[in-house]
Protein backbone atom coordinates (compact mmCIF):
# COMPACT_ATOMS: atom_id res chain seq x y z
CA UNK A 1 0.00 0.00 0.00
CA UNK A 2 1.46 3.33 -1.06
CA UNK A 3 0.68 6.53 0.78
CA UNK A 4 -0.70 9.22 -1.47
CA UNK A 5 0.13 12.72 -0.36
CA UNK A 6 -2.82 14.84 -1.12
CA UNK A 7 -2.18 18.55 -1.50
CA UNK A 8 -5.03 20.20 -3.31
CA UNK A 9 -7.28 22.99 -2.20
CA UNK A 10 -9.48 20.92 0.03
CA UNK A 11 -6.54 20.82 2.37
CA UNK A 12 -7.60 24.37 3.16
CA UNK A 13 -10.78 23.05 4.65
CA UNK A 14 -8.76 21.58 7.42
CA UNK A 15 -6.24 24.34 7.91
CA UNK A 16 -8.74 27.18 8.03
CA UNK A 17 -11.28 25.57 10.29
CA UNK A 18 -11.40 24.81 13.94
CA UNK A 19 -11.26 21.42 15.55
CA UNK A 20 -14.95 21.54 16.32
CA UNK A 21 -15.50 20.44 12.75
CA UNK A 22 -14.45 16.99 13.92
CA UNK A 23 -11.32 16.33 11.92
CA UNK A 24 -8.29 17.89 10.38
CA UNK A 25 -7.04 15.26 7.99
CA UNK A 26 -8.43 12.71 5.62
CA UNK A 27 -5.97 9.96 4.76
CA UNK A 28 -6.06 8.92 1.14
CA UNK A 29 -4.17 5.77 0.22
CA UNK A 30 -3.92 3.46 -2.73
CA UNK A 31 -4.76 -0.17 -2.17
CA UNK A 32 -4.40 -3.10 -4.58
CA UNK A 33 -7.53 -4.87 -3.53
CA UNK A 34 -10.26 -3.82 -1.15
CA UNK A 35 -10.89 -6.08 1.84
CA UNK A 36 -14.08 -8.11 1.58
CA UNK A 37 -17.12 -6.10 2.46
CA UNK A 38 -20.84 -6.44 2.73
CA UNK A 39 -22.00 -3.55 0.60
CA UNK A 40 -25.28 -4.92 -0.63
CA UNK A 41 -27.28 -1.85 -1.53
CA UNK A 42 -26.48 0.06 -4.72
CA UNK A 43 -27.53 3.67 -5.26
CA UNK A 44 -27.22 4.65 -8.90
CA UNK A 45 -26.40 8.25 -9.78
CA UNK A 46 -26.93 10.13 -13.01
CA UNK A 47 -24.24 9.51 -15.62
CA UNK A 48 -21.44 11.99 -15.02
CA UNK A 49 -18.57 12.83 -17.41
CA UNK A 50 -19.94 10.03 -19.62
CA UNK A 51 -19.18 7.58 -16.81
CA UNK A 52 -21.49 5.25 -14.94
CA UNK A 53 -21.17 6.07 -11.27
CA UNK A 54 -22.80 4.57 -8.22
CA UNK A 55 -22.57 4.21 -4.49
CA UNK A 56 -22.52 0.93 -2.56
CA UNK A 57 -23.56 0.93 1.07
CA UNK A 58 -23.93 -1.65 3.79
CA UNK A 59 -27.66 -1.36 4.20
CA UNK A 60 -30.44 1.02 3.51
CA UNK A 61 -29.09 4.55 3.45
CA UNK A 62 -31.34 5.73 6.20
CA UNK A 63 -29.55 5.11 9.45
CA UNK A 64 -26.60 7.07 10.79
CA UNK A 65 -24.53 3.88 10.79
CA UNK A 66 -24.98 3.32 7.08
CA UNK A 67 -23.24 6.61 6.32
CA UNK A 68 -20.02 5.55 7.96
CA UNK A 69 -18.69 3.19 5.31
CA UNK A 70 -19.41 3.35 1.63
CA UNK A 71 -17.90 2.63 -1.72
CA UNK A 72 -18.06 5.08 -4.59
CA UNK A 73 -17.47 3.53 -7.99
CA UNK A 74 -16.58 5.23 -11.27
CA UNK A 75 -17.09 2.30 -13.59
CA UNK A 76 -13.88 1.29 -15.32
CA UNK A 77 -11.80 4.05 -13.71
CA UNK A 78 -11.55 3.93 -9.94
CA UNK A 79 -13.35 2.94 -6.74
CA UNK A 80 -13.10 4.76 -3.43
CA UNK A 81 -13.67 2.96 -0.14
CA UNK A 82 -14.57 5.63 2.38
CA UNK A 83 -14.80 5.52 6.14
CA UNK A 84 -16.18 8.76 7.54
CA UNK A 85 -15.55 7.60 11.09
CA UNK A 86 -11.81 7.06 10.75
CA UNK A 87 -11.39 9.67 7.99
CA UNK A 88 -9.82 7.11 5.71
CA UNK A 89 -10.24 6.82 1.97
CA UNK A 90 -8.72 3.95 0.00
CA UNK A 91 -8.81 3.89 -3.75
CA UNK A 92 -8.48 0.98 -6.12
CA UNK A 93 -7.54 1.46 -9.77
CA UNK A 94 -9.46 0.07 -12.70
CA UNK A 95 -8.38 -0.37 -16.34
CA UNK A 96 -9.10 3.25 -17.38
CA UNK A 97 -7.34 4.81 -14.39
CA UNK A 98 -5.09 7.87 -14.53
CA UNK A 99 -3.83 10.06 -11.69
CA UNK A 100 -5.66 13.03 -13.23
CA UNK A 101 -8.95 11.14 -13.20
CA UNK A 102 -8.39 10.10 -9.60
CA UNK A 103 -7.90 13.73 -8.63
CA UNK A 104 -10.92 14.84 -10.61
CA UNK A 105 -13.31 12.35 -8.98
CA UNK A 106 -11.82 12.89 -5.55
CA UNK A 107 -12.15 16.67 -5.71
CA UNK A 108 -15.47 16.86 -7.47
CA UNK A 109 -17.44 14.02 -5.95
CA UNK A 110 -15.79 11.92 -3.25
CA UNK A 111 -14.63 14.65 -0.87
CA UNK A 112 -17.84 16.69 -1.22
CA UNK A 113 -19.81 13.53 -0.53
CA UNK A 114 -17.51 12.66 2.36
CA UNK A 115 -18.09 16.04 4.01
CA UNK A 116 -21.83 15.84 3.36
CA UNK A 117 -22.24 12.36 4.80
CA UNK A 118 -20.04 13.18 7.75
CA UNK A 119 -22.26 16.23 8.23
CA UNK A 120 -19.22 18.44 8.61
CA UNK A 121 -20.17 20.78 5.80
CA UNK A 122 -23.07 21.32 3.51
CA UNK A 123 -21.88 21.28 -0.09
CA UNK A 124 -23.41 23.50 -2.73
CA UNK A 125 -22.92 23.14 -6.45
CA UNK A 126 -21.99 26.74 -7.18
CA UNK A 127 -19.30 29.02 -8.43
CA UNK A 128 -18.24 31.52 -5.77
CA UNK A 129 -16.05 34.60 -5.59
CA UNK A 130 -14.98 37.17 -3.04
CA UNK A 131 -16.73 40.54 -3.40
CA UNK A 132 -15.77 43.00 -0.66
CA UNK A 133 -14.69 40.20 1.66
CA UNK A 134 -17.99 38.40 1.40
CA UNK A 135 -18.84 35.33 -0.61
CA UNK A 136 -21.15 35.73 -3.59
CA UNK A 137 -22.37 32.49 -5.10
CA UNK A 138 -23.44 31.74 -8.67
CA UNK A 139 -25.66 28.78 -9.29
CA UNK A 140 -27.90 27.56 -12.10
CA UNK A 141 -28.77 24.68 -14.35
CA UNK A 142 -26.10 22.81 -16.25
CA UNK A 143 -24.65 25.05 -19.01
CA UNK A 144 -26.28 28.14 -17.47
CA UNK A 145 -22.92 29.88 -17.35
CA UNK A 146 -21.69 29.43 -13.74
CA UNK A 147 -18.09 28.82 -14.77
CA UNK A 148 -18.12 31.60 -17.39
CA UNK A 149 -19.36 34.13 -14.86
CA UNK A 150 -17.01 32.93 -12.13
CA UNK A 151 -14.11 33.14 -14.57
CA UNK A 152 -15.02 36.70 -15.52
CA UNK A 153 -14.90 37.76 -11.88
CA UNK A 154 -11.44 36.19 -11.65
CA UNK A 155 -10.36 38.28 -14.63
CA UNK A 156 -11.59 41.32 -12.72
CA UNK A 157 -9.23 40.34 -9.87
CA UNK A 158 -11.81 38.93 -7.48
CA UNK A 159 -10.55 35.92 -5.57
CA UNK A 160 -11.90 32.48 -6.35
CA UNK A 161 -13.66 30.48 -3.65
CA UNK A 162 -14.89 27.69 -5.84
CA UNK A 163 -15.55 26.96 -9.47
CA UNK A 164 -17.95 24.13 -8.84
CA UNK A 165 -18.43 22.72 -5.33
CA UNK A 166 -18.49 24.91 -2.27
CA UNK A 167 -18.38 23.76 1.34
CA UNK A 168 -20.64 25.79 3.64
CA UNK A 169 -21.43 25.71 7.32
CA UNK A 170 -23.21 27.76 9.97
CA UNK A 171 -21.61 29.20 13.04
CA UNK A 172 -23.08 31.72 15.51
CA UNK A 173 -26.07 32.30 13.21
CA UNK A 174 -23.86 33.19 10.25
CA UNK A 175 -23.44 31.06 7.16
CA UNK A 176 -19.87 30.74 5.96
CA UNK A 177 -18.21 29.08 3.05
CA UNK A 178 -14.76 27.62 2.76
CA UNK A 179 -12.60 28.00 -0.35
CA UNK A 180 -12.81 24.57 -1.89
CA UNK A 181 -10.29 24.02 -4.64
CA UNK A 182 -8.05 26.44 -6.54
CA UNK A 183 -9.10 25.43 -10.03
CA UNK A 184 -11.39 27.05 -12.53
CA UNK A 185 -12.75 25.80 -15.81
CA UNK A 186 -13.59 28.50 -18.31
CA UNK A 187 -14.14 25.68 -20.80
CA UNK A 188 -15.92 22.33 -20.77
CA UNK A 189 -13.46 19.49 -20.28
CA UNK A 190 -14.25 15.92 -19.36
CA UNK A 191 -12.75 14.58 -16.10
CA UNK A 192 -10.62 17.69 -16.02
CA UNK A 193 -9.89 19.73 -12.91
CA UNK A 194 -9.19 22.80 -15.00
CA UNK A 195 -6.62 25.54 -14.61
CA UNK A 196 -4.94 26.14 -11.28
CA UNK A 197 -5.15 29.74 -10.13
CA UNK A 198 -3.10 31.67 -7.59
CA UNK A 199 -5.93 34.13 -7.23
CA UNK A 200 -7.57 31.90 -4.67
CA UNK A 201 -8.90 32.90 -1.29
CA UNK A 202 -7.60 31.01 1.68
CA UNK A 203 -9.98 32.10 4.40
CA UNK A 204 -13.55 31.29 5.25
CA UNK A 205 -15.98 34.05 4.33
CA UNK A 206 -19.56 34.87 5.30
CA UNK A 207 -22.02 34.17 2.50
CA UNK A 208 -23.58 37.39 1.26
CA UNK A 209 -25.84 36.56 -1.68
CA UNK A 210 -26.72 33.77 -4.06
CA UNK A 211 -27.53 34.41 -7.70
CA UNK A 212 -29.47 31.88 -9.73
CA UNK A 213 -28.44 32.31 -13.37
CA UNK A 214 -31.23 32.33 -15.90
CA UNK A 215 -29.85 32.58 -19.44
CA UNK A 216 -31.88 34.78 -21.79
CA UNK A 217 -31.55 35.86 -25.43
CA UNK A 218 -28.43 37.81 -26.35
CA UNK A 219 -30.16 41.19 -26.61
CA UNK A 220 -32.48 40.86 -23.60
CA UNK A 221 -32.14 43.05 -20.53
CA UNK A 222 -30.18 42.03 -17.48
CA UNK A 223 -32.72 41.74 -14.70
CA UNK A 224 -32.28 40.80 -11.05
CA UNK A 225 -35.24 39.72 -8.92
CA UNK A 226 -35.34 38.35 -5.41
CA UNK A 227 -36.73 34.82 -5.06
CA UNK A 228 -38.89 33.99 -2.08
CA UNK A 229 -40.62 31.00 -0.56
CA UNK A 230 -40.65 27.81 -2.58
CA UNK A 231 -38.64 29.40 -5.42
CA UNK A 232 -35.89 30.30 -2.99
CA UNK A 233 -35.96 26.79 -1.54
CA UNK A 234 -35.94 25.19 -5.00
CA UNK A 235 -32.76 27.00 -6.00
CA UNK A 236 -30.97 25.76 -2.90
CA UNK A 237 -32.41 22.28 -3.20
CA UNK A 238 -31.29 22.13 -6.82
CA UNK A 239 -27.84 23.33 -5.80
CA UNK A 240 -27.53 20.55 -3.25
CA UNK A 241 -24.59 18.30 -3.72
CA UNK A 242 -24.94 15.20 -5.88
CA UNK A 243 -27.93 12.92 -6.02
CA UNK A 244 -27.97 12.27 -2.30
CA UNK A 245 -31.46 12.42 -0.94
CA UNK A 246 -32.38 15.21 1.46
CA UNK A 247 -32.73 13.95 5.01
CA UNK A 248 -34.21 15.95 7.86
CA UNK A 249 -30.91 17.60 8.81
CA UNK A 250 -30.27 18.71 5.25
CA UNK A 251 -33.87 19.88 4.89
CA UNK A 252 -33.44 22.06 7.98
CA UNK A 253 -30.12 23.39 6.71
CA UNK A 254 -31.52 24.33 3.29
CA UNK A 255 -34.55 26.11 4.74
CA UNK A 256 -32.40 27.88 7.32
CA UNK A 257 -30.09 29.04 4.52
CA UNK A 258 -33.12 30.11 2.47
CA UNK A 259 -34.40 32.21 5.36
CA UNK A 260 -31.02 33.80 6.06
CA UNK A 261 -29.33 34.46 2.71
CA UNK A 262 -30.94 36.49 -0.06
CA UNK A 263 -31.36 34.50 -3.25
CA UNK A 264 -31.83 36.31 -6.55
CA UNK A 265 -32.58 35.26 -10.07
CA UNK A 266 -30.38 37.08 -12.55
CA UNK A 267 -31.26 37.05 -16.22
CA UNK A 268 -28.03 36.91 -18.16
CA UNK A 269 -27.98 37.38 -21.94
CA UNK A 270 -26.19 34.63 -23.84
CA UNK A 271 -23.65 37.07 -25.18
CA UNK A 272 -19.99 37.02 -24.14
CA UNK A 273 -19.62 40.65 -25.20
CA UNK A 274 -22.05 41.68 -22.47
CA UNK A 275 -20.21 40.04 -19.57
CA UNK A 276 -18.80 43.40 -18.47
CA UNK A 277 -22.37 44.69 -18.27
CA UNK A 278 -23.39 41.65 -16.22
CA UNK A 279 -20.38 42.10 -13.98
CA UNK A 280 -21.23 45.76 -13.32
CA UNK A 281 -24.87 44.90 -12.64
CA UNK A 282 -23.87 42.39 -9.99
CA UNK A 283 -21.34 44.72 -8.38
CA UNK A 284 -23.91 47.52 -8.18
CA UNK A 285 -26.57 45.13 -6.93
CA UNK A 286 -24.38 43.69 -4.18
CA UNK A 287 -23.52 47.19 -2.96
CA UNK A 288 -27.09 48.47 -3.17
CA UNK A 289 -28.51 45.53 -1.25
CA UNK A 290 -25.79 45.37 1.37
Amino acid sequence: MKKHLYAYGYKLLFSSLKEENNFKTIHIDKIDKFPSNNFKKIINFHTNQNRTIYLKVINDFKTEKSFEKWLFVVDGVISFLCDTKTNQVYYQKDYDYTDERRDYWLIHIVLPMFFTLKKSYYLLHTGAVNINNKAVLFTGNSHAGKSTLTDYFLKKKHKLLSDDKLATFKKDDIFYCVPSHPYHRPYRGVEDLGIKTDNFDTKQLPIDKIYWIKPVKENDNILINELIGIKNFEVLRYSTEMDLSVDLDRFKYITDLANTIQVYEIQIPRNMDRLEEVYNSIIIHTKKND
Binding site: I228, G229, I230, S245, V246, D247, F251, A258, N259
Partner: protein, 90 residues
Protein backbone atom coordinates in the same frame (compact mmCIF):
# COMPACT_ATOMS: atom_id res chain seq x y z
CA UNK B 1 -64.16 11.21 3.69
CA UNK B 2 -66.36 13.29 5.96
CA UNK B 3 -65.73 15.83 8.67
CA UNK B 4 -65.92 12.96 11.16
CA UNK B 5 -62.90 11.26 9.58
CA UNK B 6 -59.54 11.17 11.31
CA UNK B 7 -56.38 12.11 9.48
CA UNK B 8 -52.85 10.92 10.02
CA UNK B 9 -49.87 12.83 8.71
CA UNK B 10 -47.12 10.48 7.57
CA UNK B 11 -44.00 10.19 9.72
CA UNK B 12 -41.88 10.72 6.63
CA UNK B 13 -43.30 14.16 5.92
CA UNK B 14 -41.50 17.11 7.46
CA UNK B 15 -42.23 20.79 7.34
CA UNK B 16 -40.17 23.94 7.49
CA UNK B 17 -41.08 27.58 6.96
CA UNK B 18 -39.44 29.66 4.24
CA UNK B 19 -40.53 33.30 4.13
CA UNK B 20 -44.33 33.11 4.47
CA UNK B 21 -44.65 29.66 2.96
CA UNK B 22 -44.64 26.23 4.52
CA UNK B 23 -42.49 23.71 2.66
CA UNK B 24 -43.38 20.05 3.06
CA UNK B 25 -40.83 17.40 2.22
CA UNK B 26 -41.59 13.71 1.93
CA UNK B 27 -38.27 12.09 2.82
CA UNK B 28 -39.28 8.84 1.14
CA UNK B 29 -40.23 10.22 -2.25
CA UNK B 30 -38.07 13.36 -2.02
CA UNK B 31 -41.04 15.33 -3.33
CA UNK B 32 -41.61 18.74 -1.83
CA UNK B 33 -44.63 21.00 -1.74
CA UNK B 34 -45.42 24.54 -0.80
CA UNK B 35 -48.37 25.71 1.25
CA UNK B 36 -49.43 29.33 1.43
CA UNK B 37 -50.08 30.99 4.78
CA UNK B 38 -53.63 29.62 5.10
CA UNK B 39 -52.55 26.14 4.01
CA UNK B 40 -49.77 26.32 6.58
CA UNK B 41 -52.25 27.09 9.36
CA UNK B 42 -54.49 24.22 8.19
CA UNK B 43 -51.55 21.83 8.12
CA UNK B 44 -50.31 22.79 11.57
CA UNK B 45 -53.83 22.26 12.87
CA UNK B 46 -53.96 18.77 11.38
CA UNK B 47 -50.66 17.96 13.02
CA UNK B 48 -51.90 19.05 16.40
CA UNK B 49 -55.44 17.81 16.17
CA UNK B 50 -56.21 14.49 14.49
CA UNK B 51 -59.96 15.08 14.43
CA UNK B 52 -61.15 17.05 11.40
CA UNK B 53 -64.23 18.16 13.29
CA UNK B 54 -62.20 19.64 16.12
CA UNK B 55 -59.75 21.21 13.63
CA UNK B 56 -62.61 22.85 11.76
CA UNK B 57 -64.01 24.36 14.94
CA UNK B 58 -60.66 25.89 15.91
CA UNK B 59 -59.99 27.13 12.38
CA UNK B 60 -63.46 28.70 12.08
CA UNK B 61 -62.73 30.71 15.19
CA UNK B 62 -59.20 31.57 14.04
CA UNK B 63 -60.25 32.85 10.60
CA UNK B 64 -63.61 34.19 11.83
CA UNK B 65 -65.61 32.38 9.16
CA UNK B 66 -68.58 30.02 9.37
CA UNK B 67 -68.04 26.45 10.42
CA UNK B 68 -69.76 25.29 7.25
CA UNK B 69 -67.32 27.17 5.00
CA UNK B 70 -64.26 26.06 6.89
CA UNK B 71 -65.37 22.42 6.86
CA UNK B 72 -65.71 22.59 3.08
CA UNK B 73 -62.23 24.14 2.68
CA UNK B 74 -60.66 21.74 5.16
CA UNK B 75 -62.08 18.68 3.41
CA UNK B 76 -60.81 19.95 0.05
CA UNK B 77 -57.39 20.60 1.61
CA UNK B 78 -57.16 17.13 3.16
CA UNK B 79 -58.29 15.56 -0.12
CA UNK B 80 -55.46 17.36 -1.94
CA UNK B 81 -52.94 16.23 0.70
CA UNK B 82 -54.24 12.68 0.45
CA UNK B 83 -53.91 12.68 -3.34
CA UNK B 84 -50.27 13.70 -2.96
CA UNK B 85 -49.75 10.88 -0.44
CA UNK B 86 -48.95 13.24 2.43
CA UNK B 87 -51.70 12.03 4.78
CA UNK B 88 -53.58 8.83 5.33
CA UNK B 89 -57.24 8.49 6.11
CA UNK B 90 -57.82 5.47 8.34
Amino acid sequence: MTIDSKVRILDTVFLQEVDDETILLDINTQEYFSLNEVGGVFYHMLKDEASLQKSAEVLAEHFEVSLEDIEKDLLAFVKALSEKGLVTLP
